[in-house]
C-alpha cells in the first residue's frame, strides 16, 4: 500500500514537470523579447530591464527555467502588468466564483447522470436507454455558449425566473448566490451529464451481467438494492474515473460559461489576460488549472483502493 502510494505520487512528478516546462516554453515561443512581452505593451524601459534581470533572461535557457520554476514553487507567479497585482493575488480574488461554479456543476451532473445511467443500463436497449443515448450525443454536440444563451433567452428573458447574468458572492447572501449559479451550472453540466451517464450506463450494464447479480436476484433482494448495492457499487471505478477525466472538459467549459454569464472568475481572467496579452497571468492560470487537474486525478486514482477493495497495487 505504502509502496503504491509512493510510486503513484512519484509518477505525477514528471507530468507536473512537463506541464511546467510547457507553460514556461509558451512564453519563449513568442516572437520578440520575452522581457518586453512579459512587461506588456505599456511598460517603460526600466521595467523591462528589471524583468530581464529578475528572470535572468541573459542566462542560458535552462538556468532561466530554474529561476522561473524556483519562483513558482515559492508561489511567486510573477506580476500582472495589466491588472497591477501579482498573479497569485489575482488568482486568489477570482477563485471563489470558479470553485462555486465548478462544484455546483459537478454536484448537478453527478446527481442527474448517475441515476439516469443506472436506469438506462437496467432497461438496456429500451426506450429510456435509447432516448438517453440520443440526448447524450446531443449533449456532446451542443456548444456550451449556445446552450447558455438559449437558457438565458428562455428562462431569464422570456420567463423572467432567474437573473440574466452576473455573480453574487456567498457573503452577499445564500439566496442570490444560488439564484445566480443555477443557469451557469445547468449550462455547464449538460456535457458532463452526457459523459458520466454514458460511462455509468456501460459500467452498470456490464456489472449486471455478473454472476453475483444473478445470485442477488435469486436470493430475492429487491431490484433497487441489486442495482445500487451490487451493480452500481461495482461500477464505481469507471464512473469516478470519468468524473476526473471530464474535469478537463469542465475547465474548458468554465472559461466559456463565465464569459457568457459575466462571472468574474478564473475563466474570465484567462480570456481577459489573453486579450490583454498579459502573459504572466496566462501562465499562472494555466499552471493552476493543470496542476489542479493532475492532483484531482491523482486523488481519484488513490480512491480506487477504497472503492474497490479487490484492487491491490
Amino acid at each position: 500500500m505504502l509502496r503504491f502510494l509512493a510510486s503513484r505520487l512519484l509518477s505525477t512528478i514528471p507530468v507536473l514537470l512537463i506541464v511546467a516546462v510547457a507553460v514556461f516554453l509558451l512564453l519563449r515561443l513568442t516572437p520578440g523579447d520575452p522581457a518586453a512581452v512579459i512587461a506588456g505593451d505599456m511598460a517603460t524601459t526600466e521595467q523591462i530591464e528589471e524583468i530581464r534581470t529578475s528572470l535572468g533572461l541573459d542566462k542560458p535557457i535552462v538556468v532561466q527555467f530554474g529561476i522561473w520554476f524556483g519562483n513558482v514553487l515559492h508561489g511567486d507567479l510573477g506580476e500582472s502588468f495589466f491588472f497591477k497585482l501579482t498573479v497569485a493575488e489575482l488568482i486568489a480574488q477570482r477563485l471563489e466564483p470558479t470553485l462555486a461554479l465548478a462544484l455546483c456543476t459537478i454536484v448537478v451532473a453527478v446527481v442527474v447522470a448517475v441515476p439516469l445511467g443506472v436506469l438506462a443500463a437496467w432497461r438496456h436497449g429500451g426506450w429510456l436507454d435509447r432516448t438517453l443515448m440520443g440526448f447524450s450525443t446531443l449533449g456532446f454536440s451542443i456548444p456550451v455558449f449556445v446552450l447558455g444563451y438559449l437558457l438565458i433567452w428562455l428562462v431569464s428573458l422570456k420567463l423572467g425566473w432567474l437573473p440574466v447574468q452576473g455573480y453574487r458572492r456567498l457573503g452577499e447572501g445564500v439566496g442570490p448566490f444560488i439564484r445566480h449559479l443555477i443557469l451557469p451550472s445547468l449550462t455547464l453540466s449538460v456535457i458532463y451529464v452526457a459523459l458520466i451517464a454514458r460511462v455509468t450506463r456501460a459500467a452498470v450494464a456490464e456489472a449486471l451481467t455478473e454472476d453475483f447479480v444473478r445470485t442477488a436476484r435469486a436470493k430475492g433482494l429487491p431490484e433497487s438494492r441489486v442495482l445500487i448495492r451490487h451493480a452500481l457499487a461495482n461500477a464505481a471505478v469507471p464512473i469516478v474515473t470519468v468524473i476526473g477525466i471530464g474535469l478537463a472538459l469542465l475547465i474548458g467549459g468554465v472559461v466559456v460559461t463565465e464569459s457568457v454569464f459575466s462571472i468574474p472568475g478564473l475563466g474570465r481572467l484567462t480570456v481577459d489576460a489573453v486579450l490583454a496579452r498579459d502573459f504572466p497571468t496566462i501562465q499562472g492560470v494555466i499552471l493552476l488549472f493543470s496542476v489542479a487537474y493532475v492532483l484531482v486525478n491523482l486523488l481519484i486514482d488513490l480512491s480506487y483502493l477504497f472503492l474497490d477493495p479487490r484492487i491491490r497495487y
Binding site: 506541464v19 510547457a22 456532446f140 444563451y149 460511462v199 472538459l249 472559461v255 466559456v256 480570456v271
Partner: protein, 309 residues
C-alpha cells in the same frame, strides 16, 4: 486514464460490403447527409440568395429575420434582398454570414483532424515500435494532456496573433497527444499478433512492417477518432472566435457572428441563436457520423466516454 485499446480481430471488410453496412447505419446516413448539405451550402453560398457577408449597410441594421430591403452592393448596384435571418448592428446579412462562416468551420474541422491524425500517427508509430523512445515520448504526451485542451489552444493563439493558420495549429497541438496514445496502444496490441511475428520471422524490414502490416490495422479507429477531433475542432474554433481570441472579427465565422450578436442579445436574440443553431447541428452531425462509423468499422472501439476532450 488509459486510452481505449481497440483490439483488432476481424479482417477489414471488402469495400462493397462495407459501403452497404454504412448505408444501413442511420447515424451515418443522417450525419453524412447533414454534413453534405452544409458543405454544399457553404460552397455554393454565393448563389444561395446571399450578399457579400462583409457588406456593411447602416440603413439596414438590426433587421428582423425575413425582412426585405434595398441594399447597395460593392459593385454599386442596388438590389432587393431578403434578410432571412435578419441583420446585425452593422447591417450585415446574418444569413450570408452564417453560410460563408460554414466554410471556416469546415476547413478548420477537416484540417485539424487531418493534421492531428498525421502527426499523431507518426509519433505513435515511433513510440509504439521504438521501445527506448516510448517512455520519453509518452511522458511528454502525458504532460501535454494534463493541460486542458481549450486552455492550451487559447494560450497558443494568444502567442501568435490569430489567423486561420495559427487557429488551426493552436487547436491541433492539444489534440496530437490523444492520437499518439491511441496509435501507440494499437501498435502495442497489433505487434503481438501472429501475422506480425510471421512477417518478422521471414525477415520483413521494420519500415515495411510498419507500413504493410501495422498501419492498415490502425486505420479504422483512426478514422473514427478523426471525426471526433473534427467535431471538437469546429467547436473550439467557434469558442475562440466567440471569446474574441480567434479569427479577426471581420472574418465571418459562427463564433464571430455570435460574439457580435451577444452585445444586443436581449433585443435581438436571433443574431446569436441562428449561428448557434448551425454550429450545434454541424457538431451533432459530425458526432453522429463518428458514432455510426465506430459502430460499423470497429465495433469494439466503443469507449466514447474515455475520450476526454
Amino acid at each position: 486514464m488509459d486510452t481505449p485499446v481497440a483490439t483488432l480481430e476481424a479482417q477489414p471488410a471488402p469495400p462493397r460490403e462495407l459501403w452497404g453496412k454504412l448505408r444501413r447505419n442511420t447515424a451515418v446516413v443522417i450525419g453524412g447527409c447533414l454534413l453534405a448539405l452544409l458543405a454544399v451550402g457553404s460552397l455554393l453560398a454565393p448563389w444561395l440568395s446571399t450578399i457579400d457577408p462583409t457588406l456593411i449597410d447602416p440603413v439596414n441594421r438590426d433587421l428582423l429575420p425575413g425582412a426585405s430591403a434595398e441594399v447597395m452592393t460593392f459593385t454599386g448596384e442596388t438590389i432587393r434582398h431578403t434578410y432571412w435571418m435578419g441583420s446585425d448592428s452593422y447591417g450585415r446579412d446574418i444569413h450570408s454570414r452564417v453560410l460563408y462562416g460554414g466554410r471556416v468551420s469546415l476547413i478548420v474541422g477537416v484540417t485539424v483532424a487531418a493534421l492531428s491524425l498525421f502527426f499523431g500517427l507518426i509519433t505513435g508509430l515511433i513510440a509504439g515500435y521504438v521501445r527506448w523512445l516510448d517512455g520519453v515520448v509518452m511522458r511528454v504526451m502525458d504532460g501535454l494532456m494534463a493541460i486542458p485542451g481549450i486552455l492550451l489552444a487559447i494560450a497558443l493563439v494568444a502567442l501568435w496573433r490569430a489567423s486561420l493558420l495559427t487557429v488551426i495549429v493552436a487547436i491541433t497541438i492539444p489534440e496530437i497527444p490523444r492520437v499518439v496514445r491511441l496509435v501507440r496502444a494499437l501498435v502495442l496490441s497489433i505487434r503481438e499478433e501472429p501475422y506480425v511475428e510471421a512477417a518478422i520471422s521471414v525477415g520483413t524490414s521494420t519500415p515495411k512492417l510498419l507500413y504493410r502490416h501495422i498501419l492498415p490495422n490502425t486505420l479504422a479507429p483512426l478514422i473514427v477518432q478523426g471525426t471526433y477531433i473534427c467535431a471538437f475542432a469546429i467547436l473550439v474554433e467557434a469558442i475562440l472566435s466567440f471569446l474574441g481570441v480567434g479569427l479577426p472579427t471581420d472574418v465571418p465565422t459562427w463564433g464571430n457572428i455570435m460574439a457580435e450578436g451577444r452585445l444586443q442579445f436581449q433585443q435581438y436574440p436571433h443574431n446569436v441563436l441562428f449561428p448557434g443553431l448551425f454550429l450545434a447541428v454541424t457538431v451533432l452531425a459530425v458526432n453522429m457520423l463518428g458514432d455510426g462509423l465506430r459502430d460499423t468499422l470497429d465495433p469494439r472501439f466503443n469507449k466514447r466516454g474515455e475520450r476526454a476532450l
